[in-house]
């Protein structure tokens, strides 16, 4: 009897082929993500301002110390946290509402589903420009807001002065609204897929058990969507912290520093102040924050996964 032992050569080729197939992707990602992120860290430990190219030298964590001591950083971080938190919350609520709608059967559902992708297809910059128009002096939404404020003033006998995008409060929340509007479709697609994966017997069983429609949502739909909600939360948290193109087009960071989200602040450090060392330290802090949040979410995912078996 001949025993066919896989030879060393054979077992190597078995592993070699899949690695070979992954090679192009790995090379690209190593060259344009892993390598830059390494360089970025190295640069963040240097004094490196393009205005003083003669004075590039290592100075350890000093950039980080400077940043952590600056009020600009804390302001940007606070704005980004508020921006991201509101965005994640609103995206989940609105996307869930539309996904639940699309799960119902009614005439014209196909049309609604086709329209769903409109906000997603619009580039962030153009989205920003669009909202500049909508909320600008002649914008249709601006008119509505002005009328609303006037009505509120009249009804309650108060005097709120509405200054449009010149108001920090309006500008920041308008940016959030525009960001949410564009993010809803992607989240909605994920929710819809998750809802459609719920076995209909579950609802029938709950009906037989006498659950109201709210209870069916609360005790069947929501638990089944836990995983999808976390996935969306991860995606949207990352997107919230990296929001840049919208800010660039819609507010340019203003008025004042009202919409200086952290990505914008980083961009300014790098390309307005030309402080590459400081900007890299900034970007490292952003990466750290998003990674930490991602790890928390993923841990939640896995803990839930274990419970559900």
């Amino acid at each position: 009897m001949t025993v066919l032992r896989p030879s060393l050569f054979m077992s190597r080729t078995r592993d070699l082929l899949p690695l070979l197939l992954n090679l192009p992707a790995v090379i690209l990602l190593l060259a344009f993500i892993a390598y830059p992120i390494g360089i970025s860290f190295w640069m963040s430990l240097h004094r490196y301002n393009l205005r003083r190219p003669d004075q590039v030298y290592f100075h350890g964590l000093e950039n980080y110390a400077t940043i952590l001591a600056s009020s600009e950083f804390w302001n940007a971080l606070w704005i980004s946290l508020y921006f991201t938190f509101m965005a994640v919350l609103l995206v989940i609520v609105i996307a869930m509402a539309i996904a639940l709608l699309l799960h119902e059967s009614f005439r014209g559902r196909g049309v609604v589903r086709a329209l769903l992708l409109i906000p997603w297809a619009i580039p962030g910059v153009v989205n920003g420009l669009m909202w500049v128009g909508l909320l600008g002096d002649y914008g249709a939404f601006n008119a509505m807001l002005e009328d609303t404020v006037a009505a509120v003033n009249y009804l309650f006998g108060i005097n709120i002065v509405y200054t449009g995008m010149a108001s920090p409060f309006v500008a920041l929340n308008a940016a959030i609204g525009a960001h949410v509007w564009r993010s809803v479709p992607f989240a909605c697609i994920i929710f819809l897929a998750a809802i459609q994966a719920i076995p209909t017997e579950q609802y029938r069983a709950a009906r037989v058990d006498g659950a109201t429609s709210w209870n069916r949502f609360r005790f069947i739909t929501l638990p089944w969507l836990y995983h999808a909600v976390l996935v969306v939360a991860i995606f949207e948290t990352m997107n919230g912290f990296r929001a840049f193109d919208l800010i660039y087009a819609l507010t340019g960071g203003g008025p004042g520093d009202a919409t200086h989200v952290i990505a914008w602040q980083t961009y300014k450090e790098a390309f307005a102040r030309l402080d590459f060392g400081g900007a890299n330290a900034y970007s490292y802090l952003i990466t750290l924050i998003t990674m930490t949040l991602a790890i928390i979410y993923i841990r939640l995912l896995y803990r839930r996964g274990l419970v559900q078996g």
Partner: protein, 378 residues
């Protein structure tokens, strides 16, 4: 046309031994079924014959050719998959013709052969359709046509009927038997359905845990199961197995005595019996080999030992299951449930006490520990 020989075939998946040292000789044009519960290694064995899995050890021979290292596309085989695996992007015609095309058969010949195979499988009217527009039975026919069109030496079938509903399964079973009669091919057929196996096969290979339990004709598997596993797996309802002790009376007659029953063992069987290692045995008796006596008032053992009926079984009816042509009774014999087949006219019902007798010529005796049959095949 091909004879298939497997020599000490073994397959490991990590630490799991899927197929354990299987040696098997499949004759040319034989219809052989690999029968066993899911996870017994029968599909892995089939995949190794096809060349879709490479064995950890051992060899596969087609006639005088060692094909162990030959990839599937260069073995002379055709295969039908459990899920049919029809190519969803091709029409039925292209599905059937694909194998011919890959082997460089010219277009006119392809057309002729596809039409012939479609005729055999009665799917000529479906040739322009896509697989998703077909019913389950039609898909099955296309999968068969795709396999027979190339006139392969070996025809491998992996649970081809298990995705069909019960009625269609019976139709396709007959169809397969007809095909085997018409085509001169070796059929290797994997199934977990013992009835399919008994009906179709020239020979059955019963497998469990990667090992062959028994090889034989349907009759020999059914009548002389090699162990309690084979006895329990082949036949419906499963054979009744009762614990008992083998004993010899003062007159020299042998019988098996257990909780609630006693049954004589004929001399012819004693003569063929391997020397019993212990007295503990399993008595196997099929539902159709049990006779029903008079209903009795009590199942209390007869106090007078002298009156003891050597083949008496005291039972109490637990469930009555009419099946049209037959009636199955589940009865309690000394704490063990026993299935009995009888005429539907029988009026016995739940709670009735009844005397049974096991047909001594049809009983099976197995070693009480290992479960191996005590009777060597005659």
């Amino acid at each position: 046309m091909a004879r298939v020989r497997l020599k000490n075939l073994t397959k490991h998946f990590g630490d799991v031994v899927a197929v354990d040292n299987v040696t098997l000789d499949i004759a040319d044009r034989e219809f052989l079924t690999l029968l066993g519960p899911s996870g017994c290694g029968k599909t892995t064995l089939l995949n190794m014959i096809a060349g879709l899995e490479s064995p950890t050890a051992g060899e596969v021979w087609f006639d005088d050719r060692n094909v162990t290292a030959v990839p599937p596309e260069r073995r002379d085989i055709a295969m039908v998959f459990q899920t049919y695996a029809l190519y969803p992007h091709m029409s039925v015609f292209d599905n059937v013709a694909f194998g011919l095309k890959m082997r460089g058969v010219p277009a006119e010949d392809r057309k002729r052969l596809v039409l012939a195979a479609s005729k055999t499988m009665e799917i000529e009217h479906l040739l322009d359709r896509k697989p998703r527009a077909l019913s389950g039975g039609q898909r099955q026919r296309v999968a068969l046509a795709r396999a027979i069109v190339r006139d392969p030496g070996v025809f491998l079938l992996d649970e081809p009927l298990s995705n069909l509903d019960a009625q269609l399964r019976v139709v396709m079973r007959t169809e397969l038997k007809r095909l085997h009669g018409e085509l001169e091919m070796t059929f290797v057929y994997v199934t977990h359905d013992q009835a399919e196996s008994l009906i179709l096969a020239d020979r059955i290979v019963v497998m469990q845990d990667g090992q062959i339990q028994q090889i034989g004709t349907p009759e020999s598997i059914y009548d002389c199961p090699a162990n309690t596993f084979v006895a329990g797996f082949v036949g419906s309802p499963p054979i009744n197995l009762l614990r008992g002790t083998l004993e010899q009376s003062a007159e020299g007659a042998w019988r098996v005595v257990g909780e609630g029953y006693a049954c004589g063992v004929p001399v012819s069987m004693i003569e063929r019996m391997k020397p019993p290692e212990g007295r503990e045995v399993f008595l196997g008796v099929r539902a159709e080999d049990i006779g029903i006596g008079e209903a009795t008032s009590s199942i209390e053992p007869d106090a007078a030992a002298g009156n003891f009926d050597p083949t008496g079984v005291r039972a109490k009816v637990v469930v009555r299951e009419p099946m049209g042509s037959d009636l199955y009774l589940t009865v309690d014999v000394g704490g063990t449930n026993v299935k009995v087949r009888t005429r539907p006219e029988n009026l016995l019902d739940r709670g009735d006490n009844v005397g049974l007798y096991f047909d001594p010529g049809k009983i099976h005796l197995f070693n009480g520990e290992s479960g191996e049959s005590l009777i060597s095949e005659s």
